[in-house]
Symmetry: C2
Subunit: 540 residues, 2 copies
Amino acid sequence: MAPPIAINVEAETDTSAVTILGPLTLDSVANRRSASGKLVAGVAASIPSSTFKGNAHEKKHKAKNWDYRLSLECRTREGNSLKKVAKYLMTPGLISLGGGLPSSEYFPFDTLSVKVPTPPHWTEAETRESGTTLEAGKYDLQLGKSVYDISTAFNYGLGIGSPQILRFVIEHTEIVHNPPYADWNCTMTVGNTSALEMAIRMFCERGDMMLSEEYTFSAAVETASPLGVKIASVPMDEEGLSATGLDDVLSSWDEKARGASKPFLLYTVPIGQNPTGATQGEQRRRDIYAVAQKHDLYILEDDPYYFLQMQPYVGPDHPDPPPPKSREEFLKSLIPSYLSMDVDGRVMRMDSFSKVLAPGCRLGWLTASEQIIERYTKHADISTQGASGLSQLLFFKLLDEHWDHGGFLDWLVHLRMEYTKRRNVIVGACDRYLPREIVSWAPPAAGMFQALHIDYKKHRSYPAKSLLELEDEIFMACIANGTLLIKGSCFYADPTTQHDTMFFRATFCAAPFDKIEEAIKRFGDALRGSFGISNDSNGV
Amino acid sequence: MAPPIAINVEAETDTSAVTILGPLTLDSVANRRSASGKLVAGVAASIPSSTFKGNAHEKKHKAKNWDYRLSLECRTREGNSLKKVAKYLMTPGLISLGGGLPSSEYFPFDTLSVKVPTPPHWTEAETRESGTTLEAGKYDLQLGKSVYDISTAFNYGLGIGSPQILRFVIEHTEIVHNPPYADWNCTMTVGNTSALEMAIRMFCERGDMMLSEEYTFSAAVETASPLGVKIASVPMDEEGLSATGLDDVLSSWDEKARGASKPFLLYTVPIGQNPTGATQGEQRRRDIYAVAQKHDLYILEDDPYYFLQMQPYVGPDHPDPPPPKSREEFLKSLIPSYLSMDVDGRVMRMDSFSKVLAPGCRLGWLTASEQIIERYTKHADISTQGASGLSQLLFFKLLDEHWDHGGFLDWLVHLRMEYTKRRNVIVGACDRYLPREIVSWAPPAAGMFQALHIDYKKHRSYPAKSLLELEDEIFMACIANGTLLIKGSCFYADPTTQHDTMFFRATFCAAPFDKIEEAIKRFGDALRGSFGISNDSNGV
């Protein structure tokens, strides 16, 4: 027989003893935790996540209220009526025959274990040799062996996520971004794609338009389109979304011509943008945020590549820059997020573990004002019901119990150096194999993508053939030459807009180095063939 | 360096050698599998799931087409444009720089293992003693050790789910339900709550009404309501949803009075209904299906309690009926599902692992016609992106590699016997402790819930106080007496309808036996106190 299940046990936390005035540092997190006492959170525990934040936020102002911008669906979503009885569950001695939660006695899982890297031995080979095996028991919580276990994680949870992993991401968010308003909060998500869909449903009605980079993540278009939400595209330059372009689009917005009222949502991938690989610098963000304030926009900051920011590109003939000397230097090297400059609470930042741990676990989180988090989690409670508890337990074991915040940052530095190597391989191959008279590229500062811009007007069939016809001809020439890159036209934010730029997206995130090199060589050959230029030309 | 990733590798299956004319049996599944050769499915592999079905379906007719009933959102949802390049990925020797999938080299997980029951030793204590430890390696697929591994499951997947676990649920569905039309298919889901929301969005526009039992799963109401979909309630009796009641509601539908066109969706929990515990018998289902045909309804069969069907209730003075003698006898003992009688393809059956393995893993599946599955998975591809790969891997290891279909059925028989014991405990306690002159109950045949019907008109404050006032008074008396049950009014499908029945929902699924007994005793005392009847009365 299983021990009885504790439901909705409040956290035994006391943050009053701790005084932290600035943002959380690694040390202050550790101090705060040890002063707070042990986290106690049973099945589907609802713990005010403000208890996980430093108290610096108490001195900050509150976020703007967005009632007037919420969709009808979002405004009218009420809470789960059964949760109203939760307050009675605290009655001493009460026996509940209320919640229809199965007994963990019938979960056929005893002990779960996973082998993971022992810092600082991050590679696959090292992990095989000297990895640490983390173990989660069924009743570790009651045995005092851990604050999370199988009987808890494998039972029903809440849309906001388990307090165990939520505490970690809230602390991480404060360490990295330190939002400048008081009532920010986080919720776990089942990934940014789901979070984006839920955000569009939260803020848009059928017939609305939202703003995005003129080349954008195709799933964003495909998510918005069936909801009757079209995308108004904003010009880009080498730093991605253009602030003046954004202001122009909004200042000259013609409701009648557009068939839609002035947009409220701005969807942007600010770092290592998919598909262009562009990264917005700090000043660019400040300019865009000012435009958002001017036109009262709400920003969806979709930032899966934040920790794929790389070392500066120095070219093949220079020694590689050394990695950041310390965790503090690493944090300082990162471009400030929109969240970090969000004085109004007009940013929903979507973070993902997909690019830094594993995408298949479908676990991410988002940060926004309390009002938005409350609306989001109400929706999650009656749709996804939150992320897989198994994923939450595994990531908790790795991040919180094993690596801790410092170890996680060290892992992220490791990834930074790995992606830097990959980026350098593809840029080196471009230098060696591509005909510069018709292709141009900028080494990406972050992310997974290298955009290769084609001067299609130099094609012998131009202007007899259109941009899209030529793009397809080049794509097929690549296939015939044994390489596949993605056409830029797959990423049109607004397919009705005229485009006069052509590029192909190549990713350097997955293939082995020699294959990347060979694929770029084949791409160069395909281009030469299609353009009818000499085989030994590489433009140098 | 990680081995290269195989993307979209087709299954090396050959079903032509196998001839199965009837439904799948356990043996025929085993034969078919061994004749089909090894499943080969890499990262985000898309395999036609018809290859997992017996070929009996080839002799059946096709499902009805529902184009004219799909919502605008559903009709206009297009596929992921990047998936269009998938066909080129099969080109021999091709190097793809296309998909933005991270390299498994950077997934910091080496080996995953879990301890589970060794059949037939199902209990927690036995599992601790003699459980089997299942292990998933990072590259088992390439090493030939398994058809599924960490590098595959932890990478991006498809909305439909991984072929590895999908094969198991398709075979299981054919063994248990054997749908009578040809083009049925399954998709994995992140649970029935999410599936229900997606189904409502698929079939309803704002302003529509759907049908449901007059007392229904409260999350269904809360999911539908913000989408602008109200519920038209259908009368119930001791077998749950009434077929004549359903026909009456539809035959007398007055669009103007209702403010909505005649409903198309029927949402029903046919077994161990939440909250009433009622179970629809086979004839009742046939009657309801005929009404659905008459009025052209589409049925959402939400059936998480299917395998919580229990042994017959024989009362305290009779020996317990022995468990089913064989797997075949067990399968025959189960009430036929709507899916099993769905000649038209007008049923979406939602199955869940939540009540039979663990709810926290957020993994279920649904069965419907190919058209509906295609629309559903298109949505999943750009929202949830499918269930956690970690959950899929764990359940695959347990169900497919360890227990197999037979072992899973044996586990379900074990659960049947456990829930029978629990049901008998609560019914026994009701017999002993409840005042029969004001409470009545029928022993549930399935599920987790015992409804306790109150003859509130015998209350000393009736009719001065309303049904809802009296219900609240009794609820508070229960809390004061140290027990919590859920009010029937929490489950009104349509809060605007007049109700003249009162009941409380008690669950016997989680608390230890002695606590269930004590809680029912306290409930009886609270009722006696509230009704002002003698303390030693139990109506016997």
